[in-house]
Each structure stands twice: as C-alpha cells, then as structure tokens.
C-alpha cells in the first residue's frame, strides 16, 4: 500500500473514532434539547459527574471498569431525575433565555462542588487490560479502545432510535412534547415521561463522560470546557435529530482530523470553518426537524 494512502486511511479511521466519541457525549443533549426542548447547558456537567462516579467507584469501592461505568450511568440518572423534579421543571415553560441562564448557572454550581469534592487535578477512568493495545493490519494500526468506543456509540445510537421510534414509551414521549394537554387527556403521565427522558439524557452524558475520559480527561471545569464541542454537534446535526447528530459527529470528527493534518496552519479552525459552511448551506442542520 502506498504510504500517502495509508496515512489518509489511518486518519479517516481516527476521525471516525473521534466522531463517534463526539456523538456519544452529545447524544443526550440531542434528546433533551430536541425532544423535550430544554436548552440544557449543564449537559457536559452531567458527563463530568458520570466520569467522577465511575472513577470513584473504581478507586474507592474497587469495582471493575465494566461494573463501574453502568453504576456511574445509573447514579447520574438518579441525580438528573432529582434535579429535573426540583429545578428543571420550573423552566420548561420559560423562554430559551431563562432555560439557558438556569442551566449554565447549574453548571457553575456543579463545577464548584466537584472542585471541592474531587480537587483540581486531572483524572481519567482507567481502562481495563482487555481494551488496551492495538490491532495491526499491514501498515494500519487500530486501537482496541477506539474500536470499543465506536461499537458502544453505535449500540447507543441504535437502541435510542429503536426506543424512540418503536416503543410505546417513545410514542408517549413524542405525544407529550407535541401536545402535553391532549397527552394528559389520553392518560399519559406527562411529568413522569419528562423525568424519565431527562434522566436518560443525563445517563447518556455520563456514559460519554466515563468512556471518553481517555480523550477528554475529567476535571472540575470539564462541564464548561467541552460544552462547545457538544453544542456544535447538536447544532450541525439539526436540533433533536438523532440521525443528524450521528452524521454531524462523524463528519466533524473526520474533517477535524484531516484538517489538522493537511492544513496545519489553520489547525483548530478547520472545524469552525466547516461548521460555518454547513450552517450557511443548511441553516437548520444536516437533518432538520420535519
């Protein structure tokens, strides 16, 4: 194989893996923003909570990776559900600005809390030996962990799509969002549906935070630092579209990786130029809401 082609191929593989991680950390926001129409700027803060919970259950309770991560997801879902019942409920009816102010404020509070609980140093969830190492195919090498990440993201995407489109809960959720009054009339417990959906969104954030910590290390400022990554994916994908977020994550991951290699002078800006171009051509994102 020609080296230039091998380089391109390995960059594309990396781009896809990075894109799937972007999808994983932002898909929860796609659900809450798109389906429930809550601008949840604390989304990345929930990802950070997930990362810390996974880390602490491994460090202090001595649990393995494959037990700690689900525990972190469930723990974050509980915290999310609690906050939904107490705080978020008040801002559903307000304007987007009200939601933004409340949720960014919440992100600051969570940041301060974790700074005091966990210290300011970086943390990352240790990955088990079974996920370490590389598979080598000719001149290409594929990291086992990246492959695992791609698989996990694909599984999450598929089960969400099935859950929303093919289950009665998905139907109830869509009904509750589109017309809460009628939904209530036909016997749907709208507040409960919202709480559960919000908790699922938080759990997905936690999963992204815990699995992605190899690339985006956990620290108290995580929630504010990486918020822009999440917002870009959701905006480019089209608010609330699962398929859109998947396409956007993949596209931006590949563009970012290739751009940094082939146009190093522009470095980190290639992704923003790509976002600008995409939104100019398709102002409502790749897959706009019908």
């Amino acid at each position: 194989m020609n080296t230039a082609f091998a380089t391109l191929l390995s960059l594309v593989i990396d781009g896809v893996a990075y894109g799937m991680m972007l999808f994983l950390i932002s898909v929860g926001l796609t659900i809450t923003l798109g389906v429930m129409r809550v601008v949840n700027l604390a989304h990345s803060a929930f990802a950070m909570i997930g990362g810390y919970l996974a880390l602490w259950s491994m460090q202090h309770a001595g649990l393995g990776f494959f037990v700690a991560v689900p525990i972190a997801v469930i723990g974050t879902m509980l915290i999310g559900a609690l906050l939904e019942r107490t705080l978020y409920r008040w801002v559903y009816a307000t304007s987007g600005l009200g939601q933004m102010l409340m949720t960014i404020g919440l992100a600051f509070v969570i940041t301060a809390l974790f700074k005091n609980l966990g210290g300011t140093q970086l943390q990352s969830v240790p990955i088990p030996p079974s996920l370490q190492g590389n598979w080598n195919v000719g001149p290409l090498s594929l990291s086992v962990y990246r492959a695992f990440l791609v698989g996990a993201s694909a599984a999450v995407g598929l089960s969400l799509w099935l859950g929303l489109e093919r289950t009665s809960f998905g139907a109830k959720l869509r009904a509750s969002v589109d017309n809460p009054r009628i939904a209530r009339c036909v016997g749907i417990d709208v507040p409960l549906v919202f709480s559960v959906t919000f908790a699922i969104g938080c759990g997905l954030a936690a999963l992204g935070g815990a699995l992605g910590s190899q690339f985006l290390p956990i620290e108290p400022y995580y929630g504010l630092k990486y918020l822009v990554h999440v917002l870009i994916v959701v905006a480019v994908g089209g608010l609330g579209s699962l398929r859109g977020s998947l396409y956007a994550g993949l596209l931006l991951g590949v563009i970012d990786t290739l751009g940094r290699y082939y146009v190093p002078a522009l470095g980190a800006f290639v992704i923003y130029l790509a976002v600008l171009a995409i939104l100019l051509i398709r102002p409502h994102g790749l897959v706009p809401r019908s």
């Binding site: 943390q123 990291s143 990786t257 190093p264």
Partner: protein
C-alpha cells in the same frame, strides 16, 4: 499621576517603617490563582507558604510575618496589576510572592519597580521576565533552564535526529527556540516542528505528522493538564514508542497529573529541577512535613516547593532589613544568597536574579505502588542559559 502617588505612598511606608524597626508586623502579598481552571496553583502556593510559616512559627527574629493572599482568578495582567497595587499601597505589604503565568507577572512590573517592592516569582517560564524590573527575583524555573539539559541528555544517548511538538502559544515558541537552538548548536538535526493549537484533545493528526517526520526523539512542550496528559497517552496508544521514537518532556509528568496519565507514562524521561522523590535529606524532611500537614497521600509539587523556597528567601530579606521596608537593601541581600532547598543546593544569581539550581533527568517509575519521577542523572548548578546568551 499614578506613578507619583505610588512613590509617595511607598516613601510614607518607608518612613513609617523606619521608625518602628523593632518587632514589626511584616506583610507579604501572595498573588495566585485561587479560583478558575488554574486553582491548583493557588492551593499549592498556599500550602508551601503555610508550611514554611508553620516551621518558623510565623516569626523572623522578633518580627511577625503575615501573608495576605489575593486571587488573580485568570490570566489578566490588569487584574494582577490592580491586586498588586492594592496590596502594596493600601495593605502596605513589603514583599510580593507568587505569580503564575508570564502575562500576570508582567502586569505587576510597574508596581514593583515604582514602589521598590521585591516580587519573588514562583513560576512564569519565560526567561526575559526578570529583566523587566530590578525588583523581580525568580525561584521557579525557566523553559530554557530545563530544556537545555534535556537536549544534552538526548545527544548523550545518541538521539541526534529530533522533532519538536509544542503547544502553539508564547511559552511553546520559547520552548521551540530553546530546544531547536540548543540542538543545532550541539550538532543534532531537527526533523521538524509540530505546533498544536491550545485546547487540542484529539492528537491523531499530529502524531501521524510526527511519524512521517521519522525522528529518533520527540521533545514535547505543552501546558501541564489535559493537553500533556492527552498527548502522552496518545503517543503510547499509537505505539510511536514501538516505532523507535523516544518521547522526552519537562514538567509534563507532574505527580498530580500522573494518575490521569496512567501507566502510559511509565518509562517516560523528563528533565526538571524538582521531584518529590529526590533522595536528599532536606527533601525527605520537606516531603515528610508536607505529608504530616496535608495528608498521607499528598505530595509536594514544583508549585508548593517554589512558594516554600520563596518564603525562605523573603525571610532572609526580612532578616537583612531587620523588618524595615527597603526594597534595594532587600534585593542586595537576596543577590548571591545560597541555601539548601529540597531541590538541592540553590543560590540567587546576582547578575540575573534567577535561581541557580540542579536539573535532574528523571524517569517515571512505580514508587511504592504509585507513579512518580525518579531522578537518575544530575546537571548541577544550572544557570538560566538564555540570560547567559542575552546579557542585560
């Protein structure tokens, strides 16, 4: 106008202090990051200061020492300048300590010069900093000081063909100059430079570039934190080490971050002026005192060490002045002052007001079950090479 007021204020302080030389209360202003993303520095500085004060019982002779901490909360030079001014003029501190980044330190320049207040700088790696004011003294380290020994070490290991990977900001450029110029002076060859934008966490493109350059060794320079951790892990994950490339670094394997970097850091060689695992008696006592005060699993860092040594130097200046405010006399006392620091024997270079110190070549190993930097070679009494090449 401001200048005149500052001079007036300092003159008044000097007079006031001159009449009350006995048993004065000496105030020291500590400038650092106590909130925001860099709050780690403030916490570590405070720990170094508190440890030193506890050891001397807050007393230098008959004088009581009080430290007033102020939060810079970010990298704004204006904010640092304003805080320094308030400390010196209103709170009447005689000495300033701390400073984290080159811009925040430079913000204090006018205040230090006009009020003749010695500023003992604990970090800020740009060499030219101490030329900006005759009242600046640095007890941290400069990028040049630790980069030159690293290049010398690489060449002694026959690693002659090198690439540089640095974060794309002013200190990164400083590191590129330090590595690049030293390398070409000592007969190595530079395969290329890779600049990584600040905030990058996806390193695959840059590592591919490094692989294409086919160097024997890579010198890295990145801000301590997510970028350093991410790069080291990615380097290992992509098996560049197995492709025969040796990664060399400076402060990036800070003990506080080694946990996040994990076993990918094992075997990584770095050059730095301090490690909490140094085998000398002063350091052992320092580490033990630190653990007693802050907890068994805690270790001092370059930041707590710099603040600790900074207080040691300030104590010497207070002693020399007998508590009286006199910036010039204090600086004269500091010049050439030697002491035994946990990092080894150190002194203040009278010409440049930079600390002269050992630089250690260290390797990341498992020490008592935890990752740490173990020193195996020493460059003794290193003076800042940039100052040697660019005299004032």
């Amino acid at each position: 106008m401001l200048r005149r007021r500052l001079i007036m204020a300092s003159a008044c302080c000097a007079l006031g202090m001159a009449f009350s030389a006995q048993a004065a209360e000496i105030k020291v202003g500590l400038l650092s990051q106590f909130s925001g993303p860099y709050a780690w520095w403030g916490k570590e500085y405070q720990r170094g200061v508190d440890l030193y004060l506890a050891q001397i019982g807050n007393k230098i002779g008959t004088h009581t020492v009080t430290v007033l901490a102020r939060d810079e909360g970010g990298t704004s030079p204006q904010k640092s300048r304003q805080l320094a001014q308030e400390l010196v003029v209103r709170d009447q501190v005689q000495y300033l300590l701390g400073g984290t980044f080159t811009p925040t330190v430079l913000g204090v320049t006018d205040v230090a010069t006009q009020t003749k207040t010695p500023f003992v700088i604990c970090n800020a790696g740009t060499s030219s900093v101490t030329q900006k004011s005759p009242y600046f003294i640095r007890v941290g380290f400069t990028t040049w000081t630790v980069s030159v020994p690293l290049v010398q070490y690489a060449l002694s290991q026959n690693l002659k063909k090198a690439a540089i990977v640095a974060a794309d900001y002013a200190p990164g450029q400083d590191a590129i100059d330090a590595f690049g110029q030293t390398l070409s002076k000592l007969g190595g060859t530079l395969s290329g430079e890779v600049k990584v934008p600040l905030g990058t966490t996806n390193f695959s493109s840059y590592l591919q570039r490094v692989r294409d350059l086919q160097p024997q060794t890579v010198f890295m320079f990145m801000p301590v934190g997510p970028m350093s951790a991410g790069f080291i892990k990615a380097f290992k994950e992509r098996e560049l080490d197995k492709a025969g490339i040796t990664l060399l670094a400076n402060a990036e394997t800070n003990e506080a971050d080694l946990g996040a970097i994990g076993d990918s850091a094992l075997g990584l060689t770095t050059a730095l002026h301090y490690s909490p695992h140094l085998e000398n008696a002063t350091n052992k006592a320092f580490v033990a005192a630190y653990k007693t005060k802050y907890g068994k699993s805690e270790l001092p860092s370059i930041a707590s060490l710099a603040a600790y040594d900074g207080m040691r130097l300030i104590a010497e200046m207070i002693r020399a002045n007998d508590g009286v405010r006199d910036g010039d006399k204090a600086i004269t006392a500091a010049k050439g002052f030697k002491w035994e620091s946990p990092r080894g024997p150190v002194s203040i270079d009278p010409k440049t007001r930079e600390i002269v110190q050992n630089v250690y070549i260290r390797k990341v190993e498992k020490i008592d079950g935890q990752l740490g930097n173990k020193s195996f070679q020493t460059f003794t009494g290193v003076k800042d090479p940039w100052h040697e090449a660019n005299p004032q």
